[in-house]
Symmetry: C2
Subunit: 217 residues, 2 copies
C-alpha cells in the first residue's frame, strides 16, 4: 500500500528531517514523527533503536544530499571563483526552496542540531563536527586553486580561511533562521564571501567575457 511510494524507513527519515529541521530535535517527539509519516511506533523501533539513532540517520541522509550538490558545484571543470559564486547562489536557492516547503527559513540542519545537542550527545556532536570538516575541505581545496591561479596571495593559510568561510556562511544562515528572512543571503552572501576571501569582485567583473576559464598568472 505504502510501499508504492517510499519505504517505511525512508519515510521516517524524510519526515524526521522536515520536522526536526523546521522545529528542533527536542521539540519533536517520536509520536509526532510517526504520526506525520503515518507509521506506527512499533515500526519506528523496529528500524531505529532510539530517537537519537534516527537523528543520526537523518544527518547521514542530509550529508549525502549535500555532498552530491557540492561535488557538482566544486567540480574542477569550473573556475574557482565561479565555484564560490555558485555556492552562494545555491545556498540561497536551496534555503528558499526549503523555506517555501516548510514555512520557515531553516538554516543549516547540522548547525541547528549541533547547537542543540553537541553538549548533550557525544556521538551526534562528533558526527556533526566531522560533517563540518568535510564541508570546509571543499572550500580549502577551492582556495588552493585560487592560490595556484594567483588570485589570492600564496601566504594565506587556506585551512584557516576555509574555516572562516564556513563560520561566515553558518552564521548568516543562523541569522536568517532567527529573522526568518533570506534577503541578506540573497543579496549579500556572495559579496561577504569574496570580501572574506580577499577578492575584489567588482574589479574582476569589469572584464566580463574574458579570463573566465582560467586567469592563470
Amino acid at each position: 500500500m505504502s510501499r508504492a511510494t517510499t519505504s517505511t524507513k525512508d519515510r521516517l527519515i524524510e519526515t524526521a528531517r522536515d520536522l526536526i529541521w523546521r522545529n528542533s530535535y527536542n521539540a519533536v517527539s517520536v509520536d509526532d514523527i510517526c504520526a506525520a509519516a503515518d507509521v506506527k511506533k512499533g515500526s519506528f523501533y523496529h528500524f531505529f533503536p532510539s530517537k537519537a539513532h534516527l537523528a543520526l540517520a537523518t544527518m547521514d541522509s542530509c550529508m549525502q544530499e549535500m555532498k552530491a550538490d557540492y561535488n557538482e558545484i566544486f567540480s574542477k571543470g569550473r573556475p574557482p571563483i565561479e565555484r564560490f559564486r555558485m555556492m552562494a547562489r545555491h545556498v540561497f536557492e536551496h534555503q528558499s526552496e526549503i523555506s517555501k516547503e516548510l514555512g520557515h527559513v531553516c538554516g543549516c540542519p547540522f548547525a541547528t542540531l549541533g547547537s542543540e545537542l553537541a553538549a548533550k550527545d557525544e556521538e551526534i556532536g562528533s558526527t556533526i563536527a566531522r560533517i563540518c570538516a568535510e564541508k570546509t575541505a571543499y572550500y580549502e581545496d577551492c582556495l588552493k586553486d585560487l592560490q595556484n591561479e594567483g588570485l589570492i596571495p600564496a601566504s594565506i593559510d587556506v585551512k584557516i580561511k576555509a574555516d572562516e568561510i564556513f563560520a561566515l556562511v553558518v552564521g548568516q544562515l543562523l541569522m536568517a533562521r532567527i529573522k526568518n528572512d533570506l534577503s541578506f543571503i540573497e543579496h549579500k552572501l556572495e559579496e561577504s564571501l569574496f570580501n572574506l576571501i580577499g577578492i575584489d569582485l567588482a574589479h574582476l567583473t569589469k572584464v566580463p567575457e574574458q579570463g573566465r576559464k582560467s586567469v592563470r598568472r
Copy 2:
C-alpha cells in the same frame, strides 16, 4: 534563609541561564531548574507565568550583562581598531570562563536559543532578532569611526559590514560549541575579524608604539 544570598527570582534566572545555555531550552525542564535552584515549583509559577517567560527574563538578564561589557569595550575613548581587538579578546575570555564553569563551550546564548525557538515562539524569535540588532549597532558605530579615521574605505556599507562581522562571530562561536573547542577563537578570531573588515593588522602592528591613538589620514 535564602534571602541572604539572592532573591528566589534572581536565583531562578541565573540557574535557568546556566542550564539552558549548557544544554538547550527543550532539554531542560521546569523541574530541573527548580531542583538546581532549590526552589519549589509553586514558587516558580508565582514569579513566571510560564517556562517561556522565564526564558525571556533570562535573555533580558544576559543582554544587560552584554551591554555593560560592550559599553566598556566600545567606549569612544578607545581607538576603533583597539575596540575590535578587545572585543575578540573578550569573546575568548568570556567563553573560556563560562566553559570552565559549565563544563562545555556554550557559544552565544541568543544564537543557541534563537536557533532552537525562532521558528516556534514568535515573541522569543523577535526578541532575539532585536538583541542581535543592538549588537550589530556597536559594530556599525565602530566601523564608522574607522571610516572617519580613513582606515577603511568610505565606500563600504558599514551596516552590511556590521552584519557580516556579527555572522562571522556567531558562526565561529557556534562551531566552537559544536566542537567544544575554543582554540580557533583564541588564536584566529581577531585575524578573521580584521580580514573581514579589510584591515591588514600585520602592516599596522609594524609600527608598535606609534599611531596608536589615531592614525588619522
